[in-house]
């Protein structure tokens, strides 16, 4: 469902061109569980951002569900992100003035879903994520693991086909990190494609397919 071919992405840093993606080809099928590893600055985050439509490549084609998404306008990109992609970040990125429920409902609010329907969709999710007694708490009243759970619930509320996690455990202790990975794997078993960017080899090797990125190129690919 994700087909990247010949993707290049360069950044201009201080007048110098930095090649973050160098002719990358990668195909990810529906329901796959993939992890991307590599040293810092290798371009793994850029790869994730391109898959997540937050970044556009300078050249190459990106087919998402058979549709070329490299030339979409702002409105269409936003709509595609909203419907197909769920993001999970290292630093959670919850809005501190909103409650857990409001944070989870944020993508629905942006998509223009009325409050009542938002609630109908968020309520079962909150319960199944074990946040039932935390629904009206604000992020600073939650533990790190709970915050990441809220962030994951926010990522999946629109039932996107792809979940993209950028170091989801990077800011958590070991046990809550493990819980979060289990939660993500459970969602993957439910059919959602899961792509995790990580430093942690333990997490990287749990994935069914492991892609290593070095200097903007795919150095190895265990599957595909």
């Amino acid at each position: 469902m994700i087909e990247l071919s010949d993707i290049c992405r360069t950044f201009a840093v201080g007048g110098q061109e930095v090649r973050a993606m160098d002719h990358v080809c990668l195909a990810i099928g529906a329901g796959e569980y993939l992890s991307i590893m590599g040293p810092s600055g290798s371009g793994k985050s850029t790869l994730l951002n391109i898959i997540g439509l937050l970044d556009t490549p300078n050249s190459g084609t990106y087919l998402l569900d058979g549709r070329d998404v490299t030339s979409l306008g702002d409105e269409q990109l936003a709509a595609t992100r909203s419907l197909k992609i769920g993001f999970i970040f290292q630093f959670f990125h919850l809005i501190s003035r909103l409650t857990a429920t409001e944070n989870i409902e944020l993508p629905l609010m942006l998509a223009g879903v009325p409050a009542r329907q938002r609630h109908q969709r968020s309520a079962p999710l909150i319960d199944s994520f074990g946040l039932g007694n935390r629904r009206h708490h604000r992020p600073d009243e939650l533990s790190g693991g709970q915050r990441q759970r809220v962030a994951i619930a926010r990522a999946v509320i629109n039932q996107p086909a792809v979940l993209l996690a950028d170091e989801p455990t990077g800011n958590l202790d070991r046990s809550s990190g493990a819980e979060i990975i289990e939660l993500l794997e459970e969602l993957n078993r439910g059919g959602q494609t899961l792509v995790i960017v990580t430093h942690d080899p333990e997490i990287g090797e749990r994935a069914r397919r492991l892609v290593r990125v070095v200097d903007g190129r795919l150095a190895s690919d265990s599957g595909g």
């Binding site: 702002d74 936003a78 970040f89 944020l106 609010m109």
Partner: protein
């Protein structure tokens, strides 16, 4: 994103930084209050003065003997020299027109009024029955001058309320005799204490028939002639009528000055209106300053909230939505600040009205509308820059907090 959600999101964002919000509201509300209050006062002053003039009769044309070519409609004409007297016959001639509602010849001087050893210098005004209507005077007792031929020098008088009190105390005055400049005359009426006439204090006045006054002052001339037109529209024609009539009688010489009440009123109205507008304009500048403050604070706020904005983009927010969210925040500030300002402004206007009850300080509707429109306009215009900057933020960098 639904409008309700945009508003709620904006309110939440404003509510999360109370001090910042309060400061912006303060600036906005002071601006709006200033516009509303200052126009209210300006307008009140204008209405007050216009009202004073209107009390004199708005269709009034005043004929003054003597010509003032260069100083038309200024106080200088009021003390001009008289080459040829205006006479009762002039006044009668002017009256012969369908444009004229009523005419009152006027003669004025100062005489001593004596009654039983009490003596007092009073301005004595000679006129006719129609003076009552032209000057909107009210009687508290008795009757006004009889409506009869103007050249009958009937020795009767009407006393101003103060003159009455000083000469008679609490005694009945109707039918009593007083001495005016050596002539005996009978009191037939007392004026009401309401003295609302520009030029003289009617409380201190004694009014006698015009022919009697001419006899008292030993003159055949008139101080001026008051002509009340039938209506506002024919005032210009009335002026020409007066000019030609008098000129014909004065051997072709245009030796009178004609002032319309209307033109004085219009001049005052114009001056005060532009004053009000000027003051409102100055106040509106403070609103624009408030708008610039909103812009600065919003630029700061965008800088502080880059992560939030980047997040909204990552979660499917479009550029337009991000713009809308921030512009909505600014408009909310403008609306809330504006309403607060209106409340403060109206409270201030009410307070001033308590201290100066003769001033109607109610701000005019246009000022309210203009103040709110300026508040909303500045909110909109000055939020576009920060909102546009937010909308163009690169979500990756924004999320990274850079």
């Amino acid at each position: 994103m639904r409008p309700v959600d945009t508003i709620r999101f904006g309110l939440g964002s404003l509510g999360s930084n109370r001090v910042r919000t309060a400061l912006m509201l303060l600036a906005m509300s002071i601006g709006v209050a200033a516009v509303v209050l200052l126009t209210g006062i300006g307008n009140g002053a204008r209405l007050y003065i216009v009202d004073k003039f209107a009390a004199l009769g708005t269709n009034l044309v005043i004929i003054i003997p003597g010509r003032a070519e260069t100083a038309n409609n200024t106080p200088a004409t009021l003390v001009g020299e008289t080459p040829r007297d205006l006479t009762l016959e002039d006044a009668l001639a002017v009256m012969r027109s369908e444009l004229v509602e009523r005419v009152a010849p006027l003669n004025i001087g100062e005489l001593s009024a004596v009654r039983q050893g009490l003596e007092r210098q009073v301005p004595v005004l000679g006129s006719t029955a129609s003076f009552l209507q032209i000057h909107h005077l009210q009687l508290s007792q008795g009757s006004f001058l009889p409506d009869e031929d103007w050249d009958i020098a009937r020795p009767v008088c009407i006393l101003g309320s103060k003159v009455y009190q000083e000469l008679f105390g609490r005694q009945a005055a109707l039918g009593e005799l007083i001495r005016l400049g050596g002539y005996r005359c009978r009191v037939i009426g007392i004026l009401d204490s309401e003295g609302r006439s520009l030029g003289f204090d009617t409380q201190e006045l004694v009014i006698v028939p015009v022919a009697f006054a001419q006899m008292l002052y030993n003159t055949s001339g008139l101080f001026r002639i008051l002509v009340e037109g039938k209506d506002q529209e024919s005032l210009a024609r009335l002026k020409t009528h007066i000019k030609t009539t008098i000129a014909k009688r004065h051997y072709g010489e245009e030796d009178v000055t004609i002032i319309t009440q209307d033109s004085i009123l219009a001049t005052f109205d114009k001056i005060l209106k532009s004053l009000t507008l000027t003051v409102a304009g100055i106040a509106a500048i403070s609103l624009v300053v408030a708008g610039i403050l909103i812009m600065n604070v919003m630029l700061m706020s965008v800088a502080q909230r880059t992560a939030e904005i980047g997040l909204c983009k990552a979660l499917g927010g479009t550029r337009r939505q991000i713009m809308a969210m921030l512009v909505c925040e600014a408009l909310l500030l403008s609306v809330i600040g504006g309403i607060l300002g209106l409340l403060i402004g109206f409270a201030g206007a009410w307070g001033i009205a308590q201290v100066y009850p003769e001033l109607t300080t109610t701000p005019p509707l246009w000022a309210v509308v203009a103040a709110m429109a300026t508040a909303l306009g500045t909110g909109l215009v000055f939020s576009l820059l920060p909102a546009g900057r937010a909308a163009r933020l690169d979500p990756i960098r924004a999320l990274a907090g850079r």
